[in-house]
Amino acid sequence: MELKEILSIIFISSGAFFMFVGSLGLIRLPDFYSRAHATSKVDTLAIILVILGLVIYEGFSVNSAKLIIIITFVALTNPTATNALARAAYKFRLRPWFKKNKSKKRQKKNELGN
């Protein structure tokens, strides 16, 4: 095997791993806003990694330039779509989930912030 193929295998499998983590986060996290974290960041990174792996596998050609255009498009639109949904939920006054037992340290921080 060449170096090129090994690199692309590493990139694509780490991308698949992050995609798995993102999907698992959608199940495990407690409320809508924290699920949005999983889909906006982890999925974007997963797509970037998988497509970079494909670019390395394809080599220098027209197809890899098109793949880089797809990366740009996804990196621009994925956070935008998440933000649009989050704003709709905020306007609807969907309440976020907060941790229940507050320690004293955190209350201090809260006062400092105010």
């Binding site: 959608l26 797809i70 779509a81 649009a84 709709a88």
Partner: protein
């Protein structure tokens, strides 16, 4: 290398089923929309993988591009509709 792409696409098509649980059981409609968007991005990657397996990636890239455009527009449409609902009332969701 060819076998590797087949394995990856099998794994991806299993991963796609995980967010489907939220689409069915999600407590609010926002969760359902979020998870269907996530499914769409995963299947875009799957389309690219299938393109590499069949050795026709020039054709499948166009399909993936159109798919991601329409996914974006679909989520924006739904967010716009949900944004017109206004703040929720005191009792009930």
């Amino acid at each position: 290398m060819h076998m590797f792409f087949i394995y990856v696409s099998v794994i991806l098509s299993i991963i796609i089923f995980i967010p489907l649980y939220r689409v069915v059981a999600g407590p609010t409609i926002y969760d359902r929309m979020l998870c269907s968007g996530s499914i769409a991005t995963s299947s875009m990657v799957l389309i690219l993988m299938v393109g590499v397996i069949f050795d026709r990636i020039d054709m499948f890239i166009d399909i993936a591009m159109a798919y991601s455009c329409l996914n974006f527009i679909g989520v924006i449409t739904f967010a716009k509709y949900l944004g017109t609902l206004g703040p929720r009332r005191k009792n009930g969701t």
